[in-house]
Amino acid sequence: MSVLVFTENWDGKFKKISFELVSYASKIAEMLNVQTVALSIGDVQEDELKKLGNYAADKIISVNNDKLKNLDNQAYASVIAQVAEKEGAKVVIIAHNNTGKALAPRLSVKLKAGLGAGVSKLPSSVEPFTIFKKVYSGKAYSNLVIKSDIKILTLSQNSFEFEENVKSPSIESFEPALSDDLFKTTVSNVQKQTGKILLTDAEIVVSGGRGMRSGDNWSPIEELAELLGAATACSRPVSDEGWRPHEEHTGQTGKIIAPNLYIAAGISGAIQHLAGISSSKCIVAINTDKDAPIFEAADYGIIGDTAKVLPDFIQAVKELK
């Protein structure tokens, strides 16, 4: 029996989220007293695979098949299910990101396994299997019991304090059965974002709202982000106005993020905006209006004009370095 964790790679490399997932899975494996098995799909070198052992994977299964070059939800879910069956998985752990949200529900039906989507903590009990998850767009949480024999959890990114626990796992390659009728989609025109820090990966995010007044005023946001190694973001009206690209919009209908630090400049803090950022560990608000709701969500606040505060902020960070 095992806890199976699906680890994604990006051009053959794992990211922090992959290690976070393995570490999380190993903690559940401990609670159940079973092994942690990590599955990797794609062309990943042995050295890289071994890194999963640093976060307490007992065994690594590598699937490398040309047919799986692009994400096909049906095919990928089938591969994970085959490995889950082979390894007697009691729990399957997947990231709560685009890929995970695409695969976990399919797997749930395949394995008749109840899904706990977007968890951020370990289960409070394994008998009955009780998880804690966000509901109502972060306005509340629920304790949820998963009743099926097998369980699937998707873990919210940057929500779990993971730690190193070095093991020397065995690495096994596995050839899944891949019948042609699993492949009903074709992928073309892949556009990868390069160079920039992805909003969903970023540990620090600098974000601007309508209080920035115009898209032409964004250079202090960009400069501060650059200095802090941060990603840039914005509120919805800002992307609707075309001041900033749509990928940057955070909130209920945009990206949901949980960085260590979120700096909100000229953002009022509407409930739909907070839905996307309230899980941030630390929130800084800069706003001219002392009654702006963002100050209720923030840890640190400055009542002031972004046109003055941001340049001072940049200066102070420069002096720090």
Binding site: A104, R106, Y141, S278
Partner: protein, 249 residues
């Protein structure tokens, strides 16, 4: 081509979450109910596609698993421009239950392009679309930000973690919609509201399905300690606190 939109009936996004019965049930007092924002965008895109005759779309149907009280929200979808509506008469206990109900209906009432939203504003499961596709053994494409029809082929743009891709899929397909699929949700015109009353809203009986999960209770977030205010001419102090107190830079 026939388009189906899975429609979730959710509290208005400004609703404060409150609970009753020992925190085991959502307090619906005074709540305004709306079409889940992504489902509304998907409906909008479907209507846009239908308005181009070259796409030869015969019909747009909306489907909801829910009790009678969801009908006003379904009527809204009809007023915006859906042609007909189907309500599966059951309380939507969990995503697996909902997907199984819709899948059962689709076995005898096939559609070509099936839209779901990426997440419902209440349960936040991001689950029904993928489950539905798996029940039907058909492809699903998630995080969809654009759908077009070219030579009766469905072309989909989706987000991957770190980029975008174009996907062409065999039909039927489940497209799981997020932001971008349509610009602004379409609003019902007066004529639409009048016509909606006459459009069919069929009620069908549920099948026996057991939910795989159950809610024990709800909790509200811990109140945050009050925000620490820093003087606007002392940004240095803020940076100092971020470094030494919060330890985030």
């Amino acid at each position: 081509m026939k388009i189906l939109i899975c429609l979730s009936n959710v509290p208005d996004t400004t609703t404060k979450a409150k609970f009753v019965n020992d925190n085991t049930a959502f307090d619906t007092t005074g709540v305004q109910w709306i079409i889940n924002p992504w489902d509304e965008l998907a409906l909008t895109r479907a209507i846009e596609l239908k308005s181009d005759a070259a796409n030869s779309i015969e019909n747009i149907t909306v489907i909801t698993v829910g009790e009678k009280d969801v009908e006003p929200t379904m009527r809204k979808a009809l007023a915006i421009g859906a042609d007909d509506a189907v309500r599966i008469d059951a309380e939507p206990t969990d995503a697996y239950f909902v997907a199984a109900q819709i899948a059962e209906y689709l076995k005898s009432n096939p559609f070509d392009l099936i839209f779901n939203g990426i997440e419902s504003a209440d349960y936040n499961g991001s689950a029904v679309g993928g489950m539905l596709a798996e029940f039907l053994n058909i492809p699903s494409v998630s995080a969809v930000s654009a759908v077009n029809i070219e030579n009766s082929q469905v072309k989909i743009k989706r987000d991957i973690d770190g980029g975008t891709e174009e996907v062409t899929s065999e039909l039927p397909v489940v497209a799981i919609a997020q932001k971008g699929i349509a610009k602004e949700p379409m609003i019902a015109a007066m004529r639409g509201i009048m016509m909606a009353r006459k459009k069919p809203l069929n009620v069908v009986a549920p099948v026996e399905v057991e939910a795989l999960t159950g809610i024990v209770n709800f909790e509200l977030p811990q109140p945050k300690p009050p925000c620490k205010m820093i003087e606007p001419d002392n940004v240095k102090e803020l940076v100092n606190l971020l470094q030494n107190e919060a330890k985030v830079i």
